[in-house]
Amino acid sequence: MRIVRTGGLVGFVPEHCTLRRGVRRAVTKFAATVRADFVYGDSLHTTDDRHEEPFQVLRPGWSPERLRGHNYVGDVVFASEAVVTAAGGAEFLASLSAHDRSLRLAEHAQRHERIAEFLYVADWRHAAPSTDVTAVRDHCTRTGITATCDAIGESAVRVRRTLMSRPRVAVIVPTRGTRAEVWGRDRVLAAGAIASMRTTSTYPHLEFIAVIDHDTPADARREIETAGGDALMCIDYDRPFNFAEKVNIAAIHTDADYLLLLNDDTQIISPDIVETMLSYFEDHDVGLVGPTLLYEDGTIQSAGHFFNPVPYDYYRGHPADIPGASNMLHVAREVSSVIAACALTPRALFEQVGGLCTKFPGNYNDIDYALKLRMAGKRTIWTPLATCHHFESKTREPVMKPADVAELGERWRDMLDRDPYAHPALQRYQFVWKSNRPGQRSVDEAVGPTAPIASK
């Protein structure tokens, strides 16, 4: 382990890593500019073929939830002298595993920043983020997180938080009583969504609010009422279609602590989906949590949103068991937004930011909501520990309206162009995390341009 000192920063460079030329100067300048006391960056990894150019590992912006899952910041990190001293000193930190070192430094740092530069070169064997389950357990103890931590092979540590209280959750299901075929069986979608939540979920304190269009067929309404039973409140909706307004109306009819927005074309898979999503709110700066959404055929519908540069669902259409770039689909992590098809948020916070914006009647109200939360200093978390089917577009055709896009851009142009959880060198217009540097191997693998999604 080499310890390098530059401009008030201490860098930790393991034996298997080689710092690239000019990195010290670049990191020092960057840290001074953004006033960072913890800096990490991208890396290059050589293969066994000496003629093949090194492949690239690009890293997202600061994501504390992800760091618990694995050492996504890489093996080389820089921190200020003060942070290093507070974390136990350079010699002590140098003796720890890379994951342990990053966790300890991150705990004491105030401003964590990613520099979008290649900091070091290492062997391909060190490309995937390393893990240290003992370090994560110790980190949870130090930071007051009550959780069980298990290693998932060498790719990630599963941090399953313990739910400390049992707040009331209102499940909001806006619907127009659509009937559709799911897995070969005809059913009223909303009735199926409510029934699956009632029968599969192990969470005891649920109440259901169905916001039903006034032209819903009587038999569909009856099925919904039967599925919800005593726990269901039905609200008639007789205005023009506006998903956001329907959710807002449901929210003002309840005094539950949390709101679970649930599309009618969903069906939960994880029995502990509510407990899992609730547990992230033990951190008081979490504002919104979303699960993994799967299509009817079991492929991924969404693993969170990213702006690349338009909103995309991570790994849409890919098999549910793929690890994603740098095993990103194995760990909970911060994202720019999640789909409102299944998302949990505190009611107080919902009211504090004005609920869903009714200027987005169908699309982008979830993105707008997540960005409002970010402006209020709250994080949005996507978790792989909870899964739910989303039979998207069973209820309506996805249509992207230019007026919605214009409104989104007028409000959030700065955030759309600079997604902190993406990377400026990503291959754009892709559902996946891929580098866009010329000559990069992943460019050859690219499947070509794809159309931006119409989020719902």
Binding site: R50, H51, P309, G354, V405, W412, R413, R428
Partner: protein, 87 residues
């Protein structure tokens, strides 16, 4: 918890007012960003794939074609050395 329509409308108006306040802040931030980066005030539309890539990926410019052709026909050892220097 049955609410009258007027009560619902009043509560919706409250939410809309909060949303409008936050939207004003967001729009001010976005306008500042546009001014800093010299972006026009035209209504936002998602950039298309073609327009974005033509600007970004210089290796696809027409005048690079002969250089690419020459590079591709170099022996692999020389090519890998050039790549190593370039990256």
């Amino acid at each position: 918890m049955g609410l009258r329509r007027s009560e619902i409308d009043a509560r919706l108006a409250e939410l809309a007012a909060v949303d409008a306040r936050l939207a004003e802040r967001a729009k001010a931030n976005a306008a500042r960003y546009r001014a800093e980066h010299g972006i026009s005030d035209e209504p936002y539309a998602f950039p298309t794939y073609r327009s974005a890539e033509e600007k970004k990926v210089w290796v696809h410019k027409w005048w690079v074609r002969p250089f690419r052709f020459f590079y591709r026909h170099l022996p692999v050892g020389i090519r890998s050395r050039i790549k190593r220097v370039a990256t």
